[in-house]
Structures are given as structure tokens and as C-alpha cells.
């Protein structure tokens, strides 16, 4: 038996199965629509990725102060952060999105002068609401994760820095935060994939992501399965890439122990 793990028996069987499935799908199913809609599909993919990366970055940046406030902040700040995280984690994402889009979106136009301001073109589109809502959502889950991560860094490591006269901000930047992030990488991987799978919700407020594009294709062509298969494949590949990226990062930090 060769030692290369790719050729383990169960993997060989799975690969053969996948090949048969792909072949039969390619031969027996109807993919004629793909060429006609290729521009839309690429646009949708791009918007899904933009929504994912945008909200993950903003959300993660927010989760740092949220976690820090809960782990070490003064009581009022800690309560505020904890309240926010509980609220976000305790309600459906769809509800948060709709509250923001329909709720806030319907109140905003009544603010005097807002229709004339530079903000208005932004506020009358769907994507800013999707961006804000999903960012807050990621921040809520991330804040909880970061709280645990900050608390998990051994106090002695921070004391060593303190005892040598390091400024609290330098300690945060050089030691506390990097150590917390290092501990939290595997969890973040999962959170990011959850976030990917939450992006289609934005289609409900007329954000044209890959999911919305596929839904339209199905409506217009009356083809049911093929677009859905493509959609599943697209999400699988994105999730796979995320996991690969994190595995790379984890391997780099794993080398240190």
C-alpha cells in the first residue's frame, strides 16, 4: 500500500464516485444556460465574495473591542458588549437584516435633509444594509470568540510585559492580541464558513449575489436542478478555499510549538 494519503482505498472509491457523478451530470444534464448567464454568474460570485470579505473584515475588527471589553473592560462597557453579543447571537440573522433594511430603511427618509446629502445614494441601495447587518452579525459571534481568546492568554505573559514597563497599548498590540488570535484561528475558520452560508440572506433584500443570480436563472429558464448544483459547487469551493487558507495559517503558528 503506498503511503501517499491521496491513494487511501476510501479516497480512491470516493474519487471514482465523484468522477462518475460529474461525467453523468455533464453528459445527461442541461448546461446550455451557462453561457448565456455567464456574466451574471461571475457578477454574482464577485458580489458574494465582496460581501463575505467585507463583512468578515469589518466584523472581525469590531469583535476585537467587543471581546476586549468583555474580558477586561470596566463593568458598564463589559455589560454593553455582552448585551450586544447576546442580542446578535440570540436572534435570527434574517430578522436582523430585515429590521435594519425595512425598519431603519423606512425611518431614514424622514430625517430632514437626508435626501439631499451625499449619503442618500448609498442609503437607497441594498448593499450597505447587507454589509452593515452581516458585519454586526459577524462581530456578535466574533466578540464572544475573542472574549474567550483574550481570557485564555496566560496572565503571566502579560505580567512579564507589564513588569518590564511596556505600555498597555503596546502589550495589547504586541502580545495580547497576537496570542489571542493565534488561539482562535480554528474557531474563526468555522465562523467564516458560517458567514459564507449566511450571505444568501442578503438576496432577500434585493442584493444580487450568486444565490440571487441562480434563483433568477431558475425562474427564467424553468431549469431546476442544474443551477442549484452549480450553486452548491460554488459554495463548496469557497468554503474549501477558506479552510485551506486557515490550514496554512494554522500550520505556520503550529510550527511554534
Amino acid at each position: 500500500m503506498p503511503k501517499v494519503s491521496l491513494f487511501a482505498p476510501h479516497r480512491l472509491v470516493l474519487m471514482a464516485l465523484a468522477l462518475i457523478l460529474c461525467l453523468s451530470a455533464a453528459i445527461n444534464m442541461d448546461w446550455s444556460w451557462m453561457e448565456r448567464y455567464s456574466q451574471d454568474i461571475i457578477g454574482g460570485l464577485w458580489r458574494t465574495l465582496a460581501l463575505l470579505t467585507g463583512t468578515a473584515i469589518i466584523g472581525f475588527l469590531l469583535s476585537i473591542p467587543l471581546g476586549l471589553a468583555q474580558a477586561a473592560g470596566p463593568a458598564p462597557l463589559a455589560w454593553l458588549a455582552r448585551g450586544f453579543c447576546t442580542l446578535i447571537r440570540g436572534t435570527p440573522i434574517l430578522l436582523q437584516l430585515w429590521l435594519l433594511y425595512y425598519g431603519l430603511g423606512s425611518v431614514l427618509p424622514y430625517i430632514p435633509g437626508i435626501r439631499q446629502s451625499w449619503l442618500w445614494p448609498l442609503l437607497s441601495e441594498a448593499w450597505p444594509y447587507a454589509m452593515v447587518s452581516l458585519s454586526l452579525c459577524f462581530a456578535g459571534y466574533g466578540g464572544e470568540v475573542m472574549r474567550g481568546a483574550f481570557k485564555g492568554v496566560p496572565n503571566g505573559e502579560l505580567e512579564a510585559a507589564q513588569a518590564m514597563g511596556m505600555h498597555p497599548f503596546t502589550i495589547l498590540r504586541r502580545i495580547w492580541l497576537p496570542r489571542a488570535i493565534q488561539r482562535v484561528l480554528p474557531t474563526l475558520n468555522g465562523e467564516l464558513i458560517m458567514q459564507l452560508k449566511a450571505t444568501p440572506l442578503a438576496a432577500t433584500i434585493a442584493f444580487i449575489d450568486i444565490y440571487a443570480v441562480i434563483a433568477r436563472i431558475r425562474q427564467e429558464t424553468y431549469i431546476i436542478y442544474e443551477p442549484l448544483l452549480l450553486l452548491a459547487l460554488a459554495y463548496l469551493i469557497m468554503a474549501g478555499l477558506i479552510t485551506l487558507g486557515f490550514r496554512y495559517l494554522e500550520n505556520r503558528t503550529q510550527a511554534r510549538r
Partner: protein
């Protein structure tokens, strides 16, 4: 012999001076009025039973713990002002001043507390670069010199988790030396080590003592204390029960608790 001792303590400048140091945790007083003066170049061993307050005393000296009462607190000749907050708890008045003083005192911990996400070399460079603003090249040269001194130059690219406890503690000593501190504080630096690794750390510390560095060492290694300490302080239940030369403390202890303590360890 006594004459030289008197001149030694009168001509030398005190680098740490505390009077009437008291500290409570949750209403229980664990330090009940400690007076301690460390002179330049002096090596002090702090001994005593478990829970007697050795670590707390040491941690009060660089304000990792803030005393709840103290009549005099001078570090490196500079008074440290403590202000009561609205609950009457003391806190450091000038954090910036304290950070400056702390960078001139160094501490070595029982659990080493090296930063695991940095190589040994980066650990040693960190404070000179981030706190003292040294150029990296200069800090790296210093780091190499110090790592060579503690016998770890070949491990400079290693991460702390790759190293044995003894190596980590020697690395932590190199890190502590990187800022050219005027006082070194050690809190049981060998207590977390396997017995066969204790010697390598003690010999590094012995070298430092022979260089004439000011050191305050909390330790359970009595032979080591007897070898290197100019003065041994026996702490019992939050007070200094007896102090003197190693000879006085270990050969002719007067305090009854100290006699018990020494009988117990022999």
C-alpha cells in the same frame, strides 16, 4: 569584619527602599509592615514558608501588586507616589513614571513567561525595541550577546515551546538583562524546573551575583542562598522575622520559627 560591613551599608546607595509595607487580599492582611532596603550591588535572598508573603513582597516592589498601605516607597532613588481612589484603595499616581522605573527593574518569574509567539531572540529584543526605542540591529546584537552568555545562542531562532524548562528560564534571564536593569527580581526561578535542570539556571544567576548586580531572590534553594546572598531575609506570616548574613541565618538562627524552618528543610 564588622567594620567593613558597616562601611558597606553606609557608603552604598539604596536602590530600593520600602517602609511599613502592608498588603491585604480580600480583607486578609498578608503583609503586615515590611521594611526592606536593598543597596546597590547587594544580593538579598528572601526565604520563608509557603504563603508567608515572599511573592507578594517581591511583586509590591515593582507595583505588580499595589500595597494598601506604605509609609515610604522609593525605587532607584525616586519616590513612587500612591494615591487613594474613592474607595480608599491606593493606586499608582503616575503610570508613565512607573513604566520608566519598571524598565530599569527586571523580573524573572517561576513560570518563565516567555512570549510563545516570538522566537527566543525576538523575546529578548522586544522590550529594548518597544519600550526603550532601540534600533532593531542594536537590540539584536545585545540579544545575541546575552543569549551567548546564558548558553543559548544556537537556540535564538527557537520558539519557547521547543525548549526545556531550564533553557526557557535562561532565556527569560537573558530577556530580563536586555534592558540593562539596575535591579533584578527573581521569584522562585527554579521551582518549576526538574531537579536536573536547576543547576544550569543557578549557575547563570551565580554569575550575575558575582558581577555585582543588585538582586532580590525569592528561593527555596538554601544552599544557593547561602552561597550567593549578602543578606538573607526570613519572612514569616507577613513580617520579617529575622534577617542577617547567610552565616547568621543558617548557622545560628535566633527566631523560633526560623529554627523550625531550617530544621524542616535539612
Amino acid at each position: 569584619m564588622p567594620a567593613t560591613e558597616v562601611t558597606a551599608s553606609t557608603t552604598q546607595t539604596p536602590v530600593i527602599e520600602v517602609r511599613g509595607l502592608r498588603k491585604s487580599f480580600n480583607g486578609i492582611e498578608v503583609l503586615k509592615g515590611i521594611d526592606l532596603t536593598a543597596h546597590k550591588g547587594e544580593v538579598i535572598a528572601l526565604i520563608g514558608g509557603s504563603g508567608s508573603g515572599k511573592s507578594t513582597t517581591l511583586r509590591c516592589l515593582n507595583l505588580l501588586e499595589v500595597p494598601h498601605e506604605v509609609t515610604k516607597l522609593e525605587l532607584l532613588g525616586e519616590p513612587v507616589a500612591l494615591n487613594p481612589d474613592r474607595h480608599g484603595q491606593l493606586s499608582v499616581a503616575d503610570r508613565r513614571h512607573l513604566r520608566g522605573l519598571r524598565s530599569r527593574l527586571a523580573m524573572v518569574f517561576q513560570n518563565f513567561n516567555l512570549w510563545p509567539h516570538m522566537t527566543l531572540e525576538e523575546n529578548v529584543m522586544e522590550v529594548p525595541v518597544q519600550v526603550l526605542g532601540q534600533p532593531r540591529a542594536e537590540a539584536r546584537d545585545t540579544a545575541h550577546r546575552l543569549l551567548e552568555r546564558v548558553g543559548l545562542l544556537d537556540k535564538r531562532e527557537a520558539y519557547p515551546d521547543w525548549l526545556s524548562g531550564g533553557q526557557q528560564q535562561r532565556g527569560a534571564i537573558a530577556r530580563a538583562l536586555a534592558t540593562e536593569p539596575e535591579v533584578l527580581l527573581f521569584d522562585e526561578p527554579t521551582s518549576a524546573l526538574d531537579p536536573e535542570l536547576v543547576g544550569e539556571v543557578l549557575s547563570v544567576m551565580k554569575g550575575l551575583a558575582e558581577e555585582g548586580r543588585t538582586m532580590i531572590i525569592v528561593t527555596h534553594e538554601m544552599q544557593f542562598a547561602a552561597d550567593v546572598a549578602d543578606r538573607v531575609i526570613f519572612l514569616d506570616n507577613g513580617v520579617i522575622a529575622e534577617q542577617g548574613t547567610a552565616q547568621q541565618i543558617f548557622q545560628s538562627p535566633k527566631n523560633e520559627r526560623l529554627q523550625q524552618f531550617i530544621r524542616a528543610i535539612n
